[in-house]
Every structure is written in structure tokens, then in C-alpha cells.
């Protein structure tokens, strides 16, 4: 089955998922991001790579953070940016997803940055748009959040240099997490030998070990000697009901405290895709502590999104 993200020359045409992308493409994105990091620190924070192009941020699910970072990234590439929060407009009037995309295509969109609550929605859009239009998945259901996976990989590379010897623990609600899935694919593709997921059985998807990770239910055992700890956000609606009895009980077993972090390597870094629930998955002491790299993640995220958009725009149609 051909990877729907690549064109006939094997170039990246859309970024929909990290799964199935060759290592070289991931490395190229990370290297390009590194070159953009300089831009974001300059006085004039703009390069003309997307001048004259229109980027449509198409958010069918509310988001402030991700949408903002995409917007900043596109503007720094000199693109025109249009933000659309669709949940409240045409979809409620019965217009279908593809109708919306057709309408916006008629406004000469060059790139769609899509967030949608249904897994696979960006694939449907990518299969529908004209050949010169690019689609970036900004999070689809539980499936993928590839730019987040890439910015996480960038952060890890920045602090740890080489993936070849790393132990990485991803903790919490893996079941509902597109961030976890994308990071797992990024890490296994980039050669991290020891990727662990830690959580109660109720928050781990069936057969997750087949993605190339080891499964831990005991946080202490799972964190032992890891180089990187990635904490996932626990959605409010999961904190009680059939999956978990309470936020408090979850924090006891799987919240990251200084004591638990002490089991990881002394120089381990702590990451979180945000927004954090302090006291639910992460203790404030850790979140604000010396090992946390949560804010640099955000900065790197802009460079990574600039890299992705500029690479897509450069692919031949």
C-alpha cells in the first residue's frame, strides 16, 4: 500500500502521520527545524519561503496552543494565514467536511492545517484536495499528532544528542493519546532502543506492544534509569467513570513527583505536550523544576512546524 503522504518521487506531500515515513525524512525535518531556530531568535523573525501562499488553519476541535504555534510558524514563513474554527460554524449547519474543504479550496488555499476529532479525517481531506494543495495533520482523534511527535523528537535530540542509546518512558493515558502514538513512531523510526509506556490497563490500547514498546503498569519499575520522561495530559472526562476511579487515585499511582523522578537517570529530562494538569499527572515541583523542558518544547514546536510547512511547500505536485 502506497503511503498517501508521499508523492511519486518519495517526497513529503502531506504530513498526516509519522508511521511509515522513512528515517531520512524525519531527520531532514529535524535538521531543517534547527536551521529555523536561528530565525525565531532574530530581530526580524521572517523568511520569505511561503510568500504569496495561503495557509488555512482548519480546526474542527478547539485548540489555542497548537493553532497559535501553526499560525506563528506560517507567518514567520511569510504566508497569509486564515484561521477557521469550524465546530461552531458550517458543520453545525449540515455542511460536510469535504464541502467545507471544497469551499476553502475555491479561495485558493495552498495548505490546510487540520485538527479534527475523528481519527483519519486529514487522510480523507488529503485524498480529496487538488495535487498542489498540502495537508498537515494537527491532531486527528486518537490517531496522530505528527508535528507534536516531531517537536518531541527534536527536544529529545536537542538535550540527548543521539537516539541510539536512549530509554524513553511515556506515562499516562496512552489509549486516547495521539501524542503518544506519534512519539512512539518517531522514536522507533529514529532508532531509540527502549521505549516504554506506563499506565493502568484501562488507559493502554489493545496490542500497544506491537508498536514496538514495552508495557509497564508499575511506574517505579517503568521509570528506572530512563533518559526521558514524557507525561501525557489526562482529559478531565476520563478522571472518573469506568476507566479511572478519581484524579487523586491516578496521581498516587501515575503522577510524576520528585520521588518518582529520582528513579530515572539523574540527568533525565521531563516533557509534557501541554496543557498540564498540575496535581493530576504532574507535581508542580517537577513541572517547574530544573529537569523540565516543557517550555523549550513550545519554542522548538514553532521551528518544527516551520520546517514541515516549508518542506511540504517545496515538494513537487
Amino acid at each position: 500500500m502506497r503511503n498517501p503522504q508521499l508523492n511519486a518521487k518519495g517526497e513529503l506531500r502531506h504530513l498526516l502521520t509519522i508511521e511509515g515515513l522513512p528515517r531520512e525524512i524525519l531527520v531532514h525535518i529535524l535538521d531543517t527545524a534547527k536551521s529555523f531556530l536561528g530565525v525565531t531568535e532574530r530581530e526580524v523573525k521572517k523568511v520569505p519561503l511561503l510568500r504569496g501562499k495561503s495557509v488555512f488553519n482548519l480546526f474542527f476541535e478547539p485548540s489555542t496552543r497548537t493553532r497559535t504555534t501553526f499560525e506563528i510558524a506560517a507567518k514567520r514563513l511569510s504566508a497569509d494565514v486564515v484561521n477557521l474554527a469550524i465546530a461552531t460554524s458550517s458543520q453545525t449547519k449540515g455542511e460536510t467536511l469535504l464541502d467545507t474543504v471544497d469551499n476553502l479550496s475555491a479561495m485558493h488555499a495552498d495548505m490546510f492545517v487540520v485538527r479534527h476529532a475523528a481519527s483519519g479525517a486529514p487522510f480523507l481531506i488529503a485524498s480529496h484536495v487538488k495535487p498542489h494543495v498540502h495537508v498537515v495533520n494537527a491532531g486527528d482523534g486518537r490517531h496522530a499528532h505528527p508535528t507534536q511527535g516531531l517537536l518531541d523528537a527534536y527536544t529529545i535530540r536537542h538535550y540527548k544528542k543521539d537516539f541510539g542509546r536512549l530509554a524513553v518512558a511515556i506515562v499516562g493515558d496512552i489509549l486516547h493519546s495521539r501524542v503518544a502514538r506519534s512519539l512512539i513512531h518517531a522514536l522507533t523510526t529514529l532508532g531509540a532502543p527502549d521505549v516504554r509506556v506506563i499506565g493502568p490497563q484501562t488507559l493502554l490500547p489493545t496490542g500497544v506492544e506491537r508498536l514496538g514498546v514495552s508495557v509497564h503498569h508499575d511506574m517505579a519499575a517503568g521509570l528506572r534509569d530512563v533518559d526521558v520522561v514524557v507525561m501525557l495530559r489526562l482529559q478531565n472526562e476520563r478522571m472518573r467513570g469506568p476507566l479511572l476511579p478519581s484524579a487523586g487515585e491516578f496521581f498516587k499511582a501515575y503522577g510524576l513527583t520528585p520521588e518518582k523522578l529520582a528513579l530515572a537517570k539523574p540527568d533525565a529530562i521531563v516533557m509534557h505536550p501541554g496543557p498540564m494538569n498540575r496535581g493530576v499527572e504532574i507535581d508542580s515541583t517537577v513541572a517547574d523544576g530544573a529537569q523540565a523542558v516543557i517550555l523549550p518544547q513550545v519554542t522548538f514546536g514553532i521551528a518544527v512546524r516551520m520546517a514541515v510547512m516549508s518542506i511540504l511547500a517545496g515538494a513537487s505536485s
Binding site: S119, G120, T206
Partner: protein
């Protein structure tokens, strides 16, 4: 009209015939097999040299979408599709709008079907009023109106007491009950088999035990009520094993599988292809192999099309939001032949799964070519191939997971009660 079907290979599983025999038809009935009755003069001779002459297919689940869903399909479009696929008898699930829970609706459906004069239509009555799973439907009234059995279709039946009472009541009246085993609390939110593929794609899963838990409940109630139960659309290896055991125990159960489950697994979903959104979901390759084994050893009695035409727009949605279902009437013969060829099952045994066996499940006189019985016939070329394309499908539902497939088995002639209702001679 007297018809002589000449020079074909006659395969009639029920009568154990697989030989070159001519078939003679008059006044809607089979009047001669091998030799014509005295004084027979055909009005028309159909050349069946190189073709297989089989009983018309009996399909255990064809949604014709009337009443209520005419934008998806109509009785006429779907019955034309049926006879083009060699299907001459259809069992129709009650999940129309309104559901088939009133005698008037059943009579109207039968009347409409009869006036089209294509395939025979056998409605299944709703087991519960409006299929809501709470009050029993008026089964005796519905049976008088022509319902052959009672079914909850895909609608949930969350209350074991209602199921128990429904089975008791049906047993009292001597009716069969058709149930699709799926525990609603486990199946409700899922859209794909709960396994590696759903995990990768981030799709909510339906665990295999959604089927086995429901099966265990049904079988326990069959044991106490003695009701004749037909189990629709098995999908799991464990489910097949349970039905095998139940049959060994002597319980009055039969089972079917959808043709797509015989060939496909969850891996075929690829990157969210909504054509593969089905209920029950496509399961693992291991499950599919167990279904094939169950079909071969008779644990599963019949293959059905599970025909559910869906309008185009309802499939042009993200996988989980797309409407489940596939068009199947025109593919069920070819897909059964494909299974037979791959599993090295003799043609007569394979055809039994779509003719005599489903007729026995329905308890009707169909699916065979006995002298003096209705002449429902399917004449097909087992060697000719066709490509599955939206244009080639007569059904209004152009959605099938088999689009692009090249399949063997082209129907040349279909006869219903001795009338030639479909004709597609070789070019």
C-alpha cells in the same frame, strides 16, 4: 413459457446432483431434470454449454431500504441487483423506517415486491416494538402478514429479560428468532476490531468478547427455552467455536457469515478506507480463517451478502463517522466461488451455503431444483471474470470493500418462478 436450459453442468446440492443435465421448465416449475416430460416443446432454449446451472441463491440478509430510506436504495434497484447476482430469494431485516413491527408494513412490502415480479422477498418481523428492545412485537400478527422469523437486526437488545421472554414467546408460537450476537455496551462506541490495527489508527475498538458474551447469553437462553435461533454475522474465532460446541450439544441453532468476513480482515482498512466500515467489524486474519474453517465444516450454515447499500455521501466521511454497510447482492456468488476455489471446497458444497442451507434456515421451499418445485435458477459462467466497479453495480449502493477486485463467476441467466428476469449472455 416453457424453457429448456441446455448442455449445462447442473449443480443441485440438495439433491446431490453435479452432472451435465438439461433442465426443463414449464408454468413456473421444474418439470424435467435430464429428460423432458412427454410432449415438452420449449418456447425458448438457453444454451448453457460451459455454464453452471444452479438453484437461485437464497440470501439471508438484504436490506432493500424500503420503507424509509429510499435515498439509499429502492426495492426495484436492489431487486434488480439481486437477480443480476443470481439471488432469487431474499430475507429482509426489519430495520426499515418505520421498522417492520406492524402487519400493514409487512403486507405493503410483500405487495410492492410481488408487483415488481423479480426476486421472492421474505420479511423478517421486528422482535420488539419499534426495535426498541423493550416490548415484544405482535409476532403472531406479523407471522400472519408473512414474516418468516423475528429479528432485532442490528438494534441493541440490552435487556436479558426481554431477550428471555421474547425467546419464550417465539418458542410458544413456534417461530424462529434471528439474532446478531453483539453485547451493546461493548459494541456501542467501537468502529473497528479491538486489536493492533485499531490501536495504530486510533479507532475505538469492538472487542471480540462483545460477540462471545452475547453468544453465551443467547445460548444459555436457547438451552432453557428450546427456541430455534439463527445467529447472524458471526465474526470471531471464539464465536465459531461456541457455535460448533452448541451444535454438538444439539441446540437448535444455525449461523451465517457475511461474504466480506470470509475474505477480509481489519488490516484491509488500510488508511481509514470507509468502504471497510462494517458491522460487525472486520476482525483479525485469525478470526477470518476460523470463519472459513467453520464454513467448511458446516458450523456456519450459510454465506449471506449482508447487503446494506449506503449513499455515497455517507461514506465520504472520516472512518468512525461513515455509515457502516456495503453493497453485496451482486458479489455474494463470486465471493462464495472465490472461497471455494481458495479453500478447495467442491462446487456443490460451496453452492449449498448460498442455496439449500439458507433455504433450510428460512424454512422455505427454495434453493433446490426438484421436479414439481418452483423454477428459481441461476446460470453462471464460473470461468468468466468481471471487475468490481461502481458503474458495474446495479445496486444503488456503489460502496463495497471489493471495488477494484477481479472476480470469477458471471451470472448469465436468472429465472424466478420460471421467468427469465436477468439475461447477460457472453459478448
Amino acid at each position: 413459457m416453457k424453457i429448456h436450459i441446455k448442455g449445462g453442468r447442473l449443480v443441485d446440492p440438495r439433491h446431490g446432483i453435479d452432472a451435465q443435465r438439461d433442465l426443463f421448465i414449464a408454468a413456473g416449475k421444474v418439470v424435467g431434470v435430464g429428460a423432458p416430460p412427454e410432449g415438452f416443446h420449449a418456447n425458448r432454449v438457453l444454451d448453457a454449454a460451459g455454464l453452471v446451472v444452479a438453484p437461485g441463491l437464497v440470501d439471508l440478509s438484504a436490506r432493500l431500504r424500503e420503507p424509509g430510506f429510499e435515498h439509499k436504495a429502492t426495492l426495484e434497484s436492489e431487486m434488480r441487483a439481486a437477480v443480476a447476482g443470481g439471488v432469487t430469494t431474499l430475507a429482509v431485516p426489519p430495520d426499515t423506517d418505520p421498522p417492520l413491527d406492524e402487519p400493514g408494513l409487512v403486507e405493503m412490502l410483500k405487495h410492492r415486491a410481488k408487483s415488481l415480479n423479480l426476486a421472492h422477498v421474505h420479511p423478517l418481523g421486528a422482535l420488539t416494538a419499534r426495535l426498541e428492545g423493550e416490548r415484544l412485537a405482535e409476532m403472531a400478527e406479523l407471522a400472519d402478514a408473512g414474516c418468516v422469523a423475528f429479528s432485532q437486526a442490528d438494534a441493541p437488545l440490552p435487556n436479558a429479560e426481554v431477550l428471555w421472554r421474547a425467546l419464550q414467546y417465539a418458542a410458544t408460537m413456534g417461530y424462529a428468532v434471528w439474532l446478531q450476537p453483539q453485547e451493546p455496551s461493548l459494541a456501542r462506541s467501537g468502529v473497528a476490531h479491538d486489536g493492533e490495527v485499531a490501536t495504530r489508527l486510533g479507532l475505538a475498538g469492538v472487542p471480540p468478547f462483545a460477540e462471545t458474551i452475547a453468544l453465551a447469553t443467547i445460548l444459555a437462553l436457547v438451552r432453557v427455552t428450546g427456541t430455534r435461533v439463527h445467529l447472524c454475522r458471526l465474526s470471531t474465532a471464539e464465536g465459531v467455536a461456541m457455535v460448533r460446541q452448541a451444535k454438538r450439544e444439539g441446540l437448535p441453532v444455525t449461523a451465517d457469515v457475511a461474504a466480506h468476513h470470509v475474505h477480509l480482515s481489519d488490516v484491509d482498512i488500510g488508511w481509514f478506507d470507509a468502504h471497510f466500515r462494517l458491522v460487525p467489524p472486520l476482525r483479525s486474519a485469525r478470526d477470518r480463517d476460523a470463519l472459513r474453517a467453520g464454513l467448511a465444516d458446516g458450523t456456519i450454515d450459510a454465506v449471506c451478502s449482508d447487503h446494506a447499500p449506503v449513499d455515497e455521501d455517507a461514506k465520504l466521511l472520516p472512518f468512525a463517522e461513515a455509515e457502516p454497510g456495503a453493497s453485496g447482492l451482486e458479489l455474494v456468488l463470486a465471493l462464495t466461488l472465490k472461497w471455494a476455489a481458495e479453500a478447495k471446497v467442491p462446487l456443490a458444497s460451496a453452492l449449498a451455503r448460498v442455496t439449500s442451507a439458507p433455504a433450510a434456515v428460512l424454512g422455505i421451499d427454495a434453493g433446490h431444483l426438484g421436479i414439481g418445485h418452483g423454477a428459481d435458477v441461476c446460470v453462471f459462467d464460473p470461468a468468466a471474470h468481471f471487475r468490481v466497479t461502481p458503474d458495474a453495480l446495479r445496486s444503488q449502493g456503489k460502496n463495497t470493500p471489493f471495488l477494484g477486485y477481479e472476480l470469477a463467476g458471471v451470472v448469465r441467466y436468472t429465472l424466478v418462478s420460471g421467468h427469465l428476469v436477468h439475461e447477460a449472455p457472453a459478448a
